[in-house]
């Protein structure tokens, strides 16, 4: 177990370095730099700026210098958001994006698991067909369409939620639901399939043969096996929620990290882009490790080495 964690951390360091290197060279391979503008700036000023951000030095010196800073968790100043260090941008935006993601995930898991279990138990009933139709719609409709429709319906017609802003639970609800909806749909389908498979297992028949009641068989004997596919889906789901939140944050004008991700890339804000990419990579790695660990907790036959 401990050895497994040590191995994961070593792997993570390696992965982060590869991502750093790829991003670093890709960003510089893209035409245009952070200080190019329509109007040419005078040569001396350009030289001054480049000297300030050390862009006048040979590439390998820049690369090593950046790497040394990043290793010390210092992402440097943003090239575009003047006087704003990348670390501060992340520190301010991360809590917003993280709580949006967490709320979306809670919504997706609650709805998805409930609907999936209900569908499996009531197989081929109105419940089943209803939930699965909804799930298909949830998976198929892109979140920007869903978000636009939700704003029209819930904000303008019904007036239940504010259209934008951040801070109160009412403001979080709509973006979190729009972000979580496709995942709820996918989780519902996975749960239903998993549940149906488990319900056909011999050990479920054994549980009934012991005289256990329906509810107890489902909760105690079937559920654990049924959610295994959902657990392994959580890793990729978190990745998708991260990218999905970029769109949702834009639509609902949330002060999260998503906007910086896009802006940094289009504006060639080298340091900010690097910070974003590394933070997201790190999050993904942590989530996948957590998924692996919980797999071992749920299924005793899984041994982590």
């Amino acid at each position: 177990m401990l050895w497994y964690l040590v191995k994961r951390i070593i792997w993570m360091a390696g992965t982060l370095w590869v991502v750093f290197t790829l991003t670093w060279f890709l960003m510089r391979a893209v035409p245009g730099g952070p200080f190019d503008a329509e109007k040419k700036i005078p040569e001396e000023i350009r030289r001054n700026i480049e000297a300030r951000y050390k862009l006048d030095q040979p590439l390998h010196v820049q690369y090593l210098d950046n790497l040394a800073h990043v290793i010390r968790l210092d992402f440097g100043p943003s090239f575009k958001l003047l006087d704003y260090p990348v670390n501060r941008v992340i520190a301010e935006g991360f809590p917003v994006s993280a709580s949006l993601g967490v709320f979306a995930m809670i919504f997706a898991l609650t709805l998805g698991l409930t609907a999936g279990v209900a569908s499996a138990i009531g197989r081929r009933t109105a419940y089943d067909y209803g939930f699965m139709a909804l799930a298909t719609v949830g998976v198929a409709v892109p979140n920007f369409v869903l978000a636009s429709l939700a704003i029209v319906l819930f904000v303008f017609y019904l007036g239940w939620f504010p259209a934008a802003g951040w801070g109160t639970l009412r403001q979080i609800a709509l973006p979190a639901i729009c972000l979580g909806a496709p995942f709820a749909g996918y989780i519902a389908r996975l749960t239903r399939t998993g549940m149906l498979e488990v319900l056909g297992q011999d050990y479920i028949r054994t549980a009934y043969a012991k005289g256990l009641r329906h509810r107890r068989v489902i909760v105690r004997h079937a559920l654990r096996g049924a959610i295994l596919p959902v657990v392994s889906y959580l890793g990729p789901a978190v990745a998708a929620i991260l990218t999905g939140s970029i769109v949702i944050e834009r639509i609902f004008a949330l002060p999260g990290l998503g906007i910086h991700f896009i802006e940094a890339a289009t504006q060639r804000d080298y340091t900010l882009a690097m910070g974003m990419v590394l933070v997201y990579t790190f999050l993904l790695f942590v989530m996948n490790t957590l998924v692996d660990l919980s797999y071992g907790l749920i299924d005793p036959r899984v041994k982590l080495k």
């Binding site: 297992q201 011999d202 050990y203 028949r205 054994t206 549980a207 009934y208 043969a209 012991k210 005289g211 256990l212 009641r213 329906h214 105690r220 004997h221 654990r224 096996g225 749920i298 299924d299 005793p300 036959r301």
Partner: protein, 332 residues
């Protein structure tokens, strides 16, 4: 004749399949007496397992359905009992063990969790009582180091040990009836013998009735008092084990015995095989379902269902022909 503990009457179970309606169990009646071991023998698809799943109310539905019949236990018809009352009997008065212990135990729960929930549910044991009872049961079925092994998961046991755990679980509430559905089929031969021995000892000790479902005549010969032979969803012959082995009266029973190797026969003698294939259960013939494979079949066999009536030497038999006298047709 003592009162039967369980009386099954005219049981009929159907399955809806893609190929049509299957009469999995067709007009099956039998009695189970206190303290006896009743063997039910037949090949795959003969309805022997489904018969017992129906008694337990465990026929998967859909596609299965109990269409007719009664299963009387202490004056109550198990087939009509509400789910709630039936589940009070299941595991407490009527217990069941299955063919493959590897899949019959829940891989996600410890042995302790799986054993204690039965006694906590049916006997109202506290957690502590249930644990100590579970240890007693595991010791009784011969699991060494029971107090420690209790906390293991099923995959940490061998197949034979898993089946012992299943038996311990089934017998936790001292049931009147144990239904053992091919309990040794998935195990290798030496383990088989141990498990059968264990079942026989526990049966005497707890004075319960056992229904042993198997396709293995050797198993029947070792433990059963009385035997029912099933073919294509019907009972074709029923007799005491001694009488059945000494004097098989149904052509199918005879075929089964001739196809089993025997130590007291010369090695050079070839085993007989029953000609043909098991019948297509969606399209059973109008007459005896065994007629197409039967070396003794007469004209009647093809058109009429032979009634299950008195058998010479005791028991019941469904055949038009007295095979001790009738001529055997040459193999086709």
């Amino acid at each position: 004749m003592p009162e039967p503990l369980l009386r099954v009457e005219n049981l009929r179970v159907e399955f809806k399949t893609d190929d049509g309606l299957v009469q999995a169990v067709n007009d099956v009646s039998f009695d189970l007496f206190p303290g006896e071991t009743l063997g039910i023998v037949g090949e795959s698809g003969s309805g022997k397992s489904v018969t017992n799943l129906a008694i337990m109310g465990l026929v998967p539905r859909p596609p299965g359905r109990v269409v007719a019949g009664r299963a009387l236990y202490h004056g109550k018809d198990l087939l009509q009992l509400p789910e709630r009352e039936l589940s009070d009997l299941r595991g407490k008065k009527i217990a069941m063990i299955f063919q493959d212990p590897m899949t019959a135990l829940n891989p996600f729960l410890t042995i302790a969790e799986q054993l204690t929930e039965v006694t906590q549910l049916h006997l109202g044991y506290s957690h502590q009582q249930a644990i100590s009872h579970a240890i007693t049961m595991l010791e009784k079925v011969g699991i060494p180091g029971a107090a420690q092994r209790l906390w293991d998961y099923p995959h940490q046991f061998s197949g034979g040990m898993q089946q012992r755990v299943m038996i311990a679980m089934a017998l936790s509430c001292k049931p009147d009836i144990l239904i053992a559905d091919e309990p040794t089929t998935a195990l290798d031969v030496t383990i088989q013998a141990q498990i059968l021995e264990l079942l026989r000892n526990l049966q005497t000790e707890l004075n319960m009735s056992v229904i042993l479902i198997t396709h293995d005549l050797g198993v029947v010969a070792q433990v059963c008092h009385r035997v029912i032979v099933m073919y294509a969803g019907r009972i074709v012959e029923e007799a005491t084990a001694n009488s059945l082995f000494a004097d098989p009266r149904h052509p199918y029973t005879l075929g089964l015995m001739q196809s089993a190797p025997r130590l007291d026969h010369a090695r050079a003698e070839r085993l007989h095989a029953i000609e043909g294939q098991p019948p297509d259960m969606t399209q059973l013939p109008a007459g005896c379902a065994f007629a197409p494979r039967c070396p003794f079949a007469v004209e009647e066999s093809w058109h009429q269902q032979p009634p299950l009536a008195g058998r010479p030497g005791g028991g019941r038999l469904a055949c038009f022909v007295d095979i001790t006298k009738a001529p055997r047709k040459a193999a086709r």
